[in-house]
């Protein structure tokens, strides 16, 4: 399939150029033409006033020989369940929930894949929605190294041919899953925020933000299997654990795995409250309005009270008030907690890109015109140094 412009009829009006998200259209000699940046999103087709941008099928790729047999050989939904130090990441439970929903629609089964951790941890995944758990407890998986993780997952996929593979869009998942997709020559969609099944074809519709969250795109992987997606933590709903669920743990042998990296040590950020922003249900974030590093001490107290984590805008990180690992936004982390409290953050589009999908956003800012209020569920106009101590006091009163 290709998108072409009928140059004979093109008036060179340039409407299509303004519509193209990929800078893929240029005007040459008064006519539009599509360059190699084209991603076939078809946006230009709908805006062309002359209707001269059309989609044409390439000869030969209409039907890959034996395509339907190939696709039919790949069945089932797999969830890569990530662990750190033997503990299953919370995104893994969310993906099991999402996997169940997809599997029921496709009338197939859910398998979890667990590297490292104990057999008990593997068995526990059954109650969270897995019908089968492929578990490799080899010590090589204790620490995260990309190569053995990728090779092991590849070999399991080759042996068992799942139709869909989901993994968390975490530092770990986003690092090693691309190797798997590269080697297997299949599609990988990063950081999905929604997954659906196309009723007609049974293909996985993978929905994800692009352009720093300014645009959403639906991605398909129609002719290669498995369809692999990394999924953003905290956007899928986990199902209730059912300890009576039946399932099977399949122990897997690691065999010979190549590993040319070595984890020397693992260091946690030392902070009283948690720093893993993508797992936090409540995030208290500070911006330039916090005035100094001391202001963040106050936010930490608030975060501890709410059982949450502390985040920051780029402005606060650039000032050196808090380390980069806490930064939320286009150049930091993307988070989606249940509650996001933005304190003294003006709400630049780059910051909004990292937090606007939070369930509830509370904005505290002394400038009533600050753009953060446009994204907020609740807004308080006031000085953070005045508002937050009162909030801390009220919350403490409630706890007694």
């Amino acid at each position: 399939m290709r998108i072409i412009i009928n140059t004979e009829k093109c008036t060179g009006c340039a409407e299509c150029i303004a519509s193209c998200p990929y800078t893929a259209i240029e005007i040459k000699d008064g006519k539009a033409f599509i360059n190699e940046y084209c991603q076939f999103c078809r946006t230009c087709m709908s805006v062309c006033p002359e209707g001269v941008i059309i989609e044409v099928a390439d000869e030969g790729d209409k039907q890959k020989a034996g395509l339907s047999e190939y696709l039919a050989a790949y069945q089932g939904v797999w969830v890569f369940t990530e662990q750190r130090e033997g503990k299953i990441a919370s995104v893994a439970y969310e993906l099991l929930g999402a996997g169940r929903r997809l599997a029921e629609e496709l009338k197939t089964q859910v398998a979890a894949v667990l590297f490292g951790a104990s057999e008990d941890a593997a068995r526990e995944l059954i109650s969270w929605g897995a019908d089968k758990v492929y578990h490799c407890g080899d010590p090589i998986f204790e620490k995260f190294n990309d190569e053995p993780y990728a090779q092991m997952l590849m070999s399991l996929i080759k042996d068992h041919k799942p139709g869909i593979v989901l993994a968390g869009a975490t530092a770990l998942g986003r690092s090693f899953i691309p190797r798997v997709a590269a080697r297997l020559k299949t599609g990988l969609t990063a950081d999905c925020t929604a997954l659906e099944i196309d009723k007609e074809t049974g293909n996985l519709l993978q929905i994800r933000p692009a352009f720093g969250g300014n645009i959403m795109a639906t991605i398909l992987c129609p002719a290669n299997r498995p369809q692999i997606a990394t999924v953003r933590p905290r956007v899928m709903k986990r199902i209730e654990a059912d300890h009576g669920r039946k399932g099977e743990v399949v122990p897997v042998d690691a065999g010979n795995l190549i590993c040319r990296t070595k984890v020397i040590e693992t260091l946690k950020e030392t902070s009283e409250c948690m720093v893993n922003l993508q797992e936090a249900e409540v995030i208290v974030a500070g911006g330039r309005g916090m005035s100094n590093a001391k202001g963040f001490g106050m936010l930490e107290e608030l975060a501890v009270l709410l059982g949450g984590a502390v985040a920051a805008s780029r402005a606060a990180v650039d000032e050196g008030w808090i380390p980069y690992i806490h930064q939320v936004g286009q150049t930091g982390k993307t988070v989606c907690p249940k509650v996001y409290i933005a304190c003294g953050i003006s709400g630049a589009v780059q910051h909004l890109a990292g937090m606007q999908s939070s369930d509830i956003i509370i904005a505290i800012n002394k400038n009533p015109e600050a753009p953060i209020f446009n994204a907020a569920t609740y807004g308080i106009v006031g000085d953070v140094n005045e508002v937050i101590p009162v909030l801390i006091k009220k919350l403490k009163e409630g706890k007694q």
Binding site: M1, A18, T23, A24, E36, Y37, C38, F40, V47, D58, D146, A150, A171, R174, S175, F176, P178, R179, A181, A182, G187, L188, D191, P209, A210, F211, G212, N214, I215, M216, A217, T218, I219, C221, R260, K262, V263, I264, T266, K268, E269, V275, Q278, E279, G307, Y324, V339, Q350, Q356, S357, A375, T377, Y378, G379, I380, V381, G382, V387, K394, G398
Partner: protein, 262 residues
């Protein structure tokens, strides 16, 4: 050390918006820039060269106008630049892009390949690790510091979700870097002069030895089906009254949510 830096020309995404009425992109006057993370990769490469000697080669895959970002790379200090460009590359997804870069990189000598952690238009963070897999070399993603570099090994700090790991790797290796790793330098006057005169090596599909069925749309397992505007919240409530009253109202609302403040 010979270092390759992969860079990408991207639209300045902070400026890209969707028109909610027509569901099309408004990108009038949106400038094209070097992907910001790639500047940090280039800076890291230049610092390694200062320490060990060697050569910094920069490559980009893109349309002819991507030449601009290569000239910018020369102005910062890159020794040689290559533009991988062919109409056949149209429609490349991350798989086809990685394959194409791999084919081009295979023609160059290297000890280390550096990439930005992701490009700000696609935000996938996939091309770096995929290139490493194609080349059959290890990679380390989200590198925030290079601790030590000796002949044959490198030790770096890798950012994880809950802290960081100190990781050692044999060379050659591919690293993707985060912004924390350094502050990119500004082009020098001498660099700007060099950029004007720089010879850009252009390579097409045949020159890199890529197979047609693996590049562009044909080589891309994924397709973009459609794009649309994200939905914005419309349930905003500004709280009223004194600070005390506003906070009281907020705490009441928060208590209504079972998830917090149980």
């Amino acid at each position: 050390m010979n270092i390759i830096v992969c860079i990408k020309q991207v639209p300045d995404t902070a400026e890209v918006k969707i028109n909610p009425e027509t569901n099309t992109l408004v990108r009038e006057g949106v400038p094209s820039i070097i992907n910001p993370y790639d500047l940090h990769a280039l800076e890291a490469a230049l610092q390694i060269r200062e320490q060990t000697g060697g050569k910094v080669s920069v490559i980009t895959m893109g349309p002819p106008q991507a030449e601009n970002v290569l000239r910018e790379a020369v102005s910062m200090g890159a020794d040689e630049v290559r533009l991988i460009s062919d109409r056949a590359f149209a429609g490349s997804d991350t798989w086809a892009t990685s394959y194409t870069l791999y084919k081009a990189i295979k023609k160059i000598n290297y000890d280390i390949i550096l990439c930005g952690k992701q490009a700000i238009d696609g935000d996938t963070a996939q091309v770096g690790p995929e290139v490493a897999e194609f080349l059959n070399i290890p990679h380390i993603a989200y590198v925030r510091k290079i601790d030590e570099l000796a002949s044959g090994t490198i030790r770096v700090q890798r950012l994880m979700d809950d802290g960081y790991d100190v990781v050692e790797s044999s060379l050659p290796v591919l690293l993707t870097v985060v912004k924390e790793i350094n502050t990119p330098r500004f082009p020098s006057l001498k660099g700007k002069m060099a950029a004007k005169k720089a010879v850009i090596t252009k390579m097409d599909m045949r020159a890199i030895g890529a197979e047609e069925e693996n590049v562009g749309l044909k080589g891309s397992p994924t397709q973009v089906r459609n794009i649309f505007a994200p939905q914005l919240k419309s349930d905003r409530r500004m709280l009223q009254g004194s600070v005390e009253e506003q906070v009281t109202a907020l705490v009441k609302e928060l208590r209504g949510l079972k998830c917090v403040l149980s």
